[in-house]
Symmetry: D2
């Protein structure tokens, strides 16, 4: 594991990375509510989305830079690590000091100008896999940023046989881990578009031995401004997280020792 990531307290040996939070920040009340609930259950990293890339320009686009102060506030209050999707190179500088771990979304995985701009930053970066990208293209995109600072995130690929929005590709995630020695986490929420599948897929990610999870958690999923069908409540996430911790311990300890 890269020293940079360890020093940043993001990916630690013998632990798995847990990031959670709403699909997008919709209001102070919603964001603070979910964040505090997650803090209580020991979640270390807070998914805090200001900009929301949407297939359609008519969909909710996020609150934007004006709401950065909310991230600063909750960070101070809870001490959680803040991760936020960066969609434009102009947002790299203003988020410094608040956003600990910028992330690059699936649709920007091959936005090379953004990757090159992030190469000049020094924070750890989560790089989501393009939904049509090969492992080779994913690794090469990480190299643009500087692979020793990158945490890869598998979030589902598009296949011709999809019964859900995307297909979680654990095979590919394991190949990136095993062959490249890079940390890889999994996002069970975006692969499905169905909240009833999220607990099972979250457990499968941890059981496969990936380095962590990023899960969409919302206090009132039915009324969420985006991804209403795939977010789970803090209550459900709490139970899933306990199962995952038990699975992680079981795997890490090695049953036969």
């Amino acid at each position: 594991m890269s020293k940079i990531l360890e020093r940043a307290d993001v990916i630690k040996p013998h632990e798995f990375f847990v990031a959670a939070g709403p699909c997008a920040i919709e209001s102070k009340e919603q964001y603070f509510g979910v964040s505090r609930a997650l803090k209580v259950m020991g979640v270390g990293v807070l998914r805090s989305q200001l900009w929301k890339p949407r297939s359609s320009g008519k969909s909710f686009q996020g609150l934007g830079l004006d709401s950065l102060y909310m991230l600063a506030r909750i960070k101070e209050e809870t001490g959680m690590i803040i991760t936020t999707e960066i969609v434009d190179k102009d947002h790299i500088a203003p988020t410094r000091g608040v956003v600990d771990v910028p992330w690059v979304g699936s649709r920007n995985m091959q936005n090379y100008e953004l990757l090159k701009a992030l190469a000049k930053d020094d924070r750890p970066v989560i790089l989501k896999r393009g939904y049509g990208a090969t492992i080779k293209e994913w690794i090469e995109a990480a190299d643009y940023i500087g692979s020793e600072r990158v945490i890869l995130c598998e979030r589902g690929i598009r296949s011709g046989t999809d019964s859900t929005r995307f297909t979680l590709d654990l095979n590919g995630a394991l190949v990136a881990m095993y062959d490249k020695g890079m940390p890889v986490i999994g996002d069970p929420s975006h692969t499905t578009g169905r909240r009833d599948l999220v607990p099972a897929l979250t457990r499968s990610i941890v059981a496969a031995g990936l380095n962590g999870i990023v899960v969409e958690v919302h206090n009132d999923p039915q009324h969420a401004l985006c991804d209403a069908d795939q977010q789970i409540t803090p209550e459900i996430f709490k139970r899933v997280l306990e199962e995952c911790r038990a699975i992680h311990q079981l795997i890490s300890s090695g049953l036969n020792n």
Copy 2:
């Protein structure tokens, strides 16, 4: 769960189905050796392949009907449930009394004449998913046989981003389970073509809550006549199986009770 499957002692409530065995039966020595090792670790179902459909006609095609007696012998000795791939309707009748659970391979999932012939049989049938098939097509294929007798088996789909031979599609497997109420098991071996990925994927199948696993186990994988790169040894399988049993218990018991 269908009464037929329960009665056949194949899929039981509160247990997960464990099938294992070599990719193909190569010799009496090889087959008996692996089978006995699997029996000792409590494996209930023996993968016993007589016919091996191969992309190339020049590859090893299996020992065929002449070796059916080996299956009868090991069945008598161990009491294990025997599962064998059926590639031709002419093999349905001769295997009765020995093969408890015929299975239909990925390449024959839409061989409707074979499915119609199996509809006249009364055994449980494992139906592997075609590697290019949608969930709808898979379910419709099961209906040809009679879905109350069918155990679905996810074995990997082909996608444009494959870094391995196929991609294990847990999303699709869960949709078939949740939406159709059918038993679904997973095959971690054929999805990868890489034995180092098999333990992780096997655990992910069980953690996702599927009804069982089918794993290729060979006493000497390096010298196997087929799928040499993806079979694991009985020693490695033993360790994986213990992890899986612990994960299954953990999930079934419900942590919060």
Copy 3:
């Protein structure tokens, strides 16, 4: 080009192969009507489907062997070459003398028992590409039959970005032609499921230089028992065929000679 195919008068140098006919034979009246219309416009090969493999067992399955006499009758009357999908090895022998060119459908491309049985026949065989098959798997399937007797038929692959039922893969068809030297024809009807796209795709197949086309033509597409949305009328086909002949001549002659 293989001598066998030339002798069978199926694939000739300097000509392109034109096969057409309804998706399935529904009645003597329908079949004879379409066939005579096609004969008049110079179509050499008659698509005459007795068995219709369907994703769902509840869909129309074809009239079967009982209607083989209709094929014999129209063959005698028109002198057209008869091509019929064979879905079971038991149908190979009974169709001899009537069906000149058996074809293997997409779903049976890797039904190796059927391919091995066809290997013992001596007729030319059209081998449709499995909708999830690579070019390598397609060629290996042809080798099971005997590649010097096989005409490959591209009929569309499944991809994650499909806006139509399948995607016509001209790239793959050309690779099979150029690298393997095998005759390759294209089916514009099954790729789309939309009759308004059929003329454009038919022209594209001919302009790419493939060896021929197989098109679904029905006198009353709206009331067809299968593929109602993708069959075109004889009137529309006549116009497309004229365009295709002109394109073929234009390409074959070489503009710069």
Copy 4:
């Protein structure tokens, strides 16, 4: 057809759009040489790539803004319409007055910040399809820019059965044309990575009735700094273009009039 595109003299009724040029501008000599050869054969639009998005950061990245003057020079000399890939919103303003038609590449199709910035420009824009994008996503991306200014460009999708780099998806291109009424052109070069397939695919695009083609042409393909395997020489392009013009005329005139 949109008035904006007609006024810009880019997409005209009864004509098909022909853009060609090298994969990237490598030197003044190379660029001017190819451009003049293309001018002579009546090519109206010059592919003039300054920035070259590459999967690997170690590959040639293009000459950049410093070479914009070359585009101005050749434009003045030949009167050709200049099209250039824009990879960053900062390049929109500086290219005004020289680049007539900015284009957005496949990897940036969902780089929404770039699309939003282009929405404030008034030039026609070529929007290449993301290699993993559905038609719906492609159209929604065009809407970000303003669909009445957009020319869609099909350049190949990634599928699990690819025998070439990508698969030219004429089905999808036709759906975009027929259902949305937008102009759609095709790029035969990027779909294949094999120059021997380019002539056949170029003809297939024109025969399908798409609105135009964009072809990579290089005076010395073997020594090109990028896409060395897929560029064709001016000599070969000349012949293909003649075939395409004849096919276009044949289709447009309507054989039966």
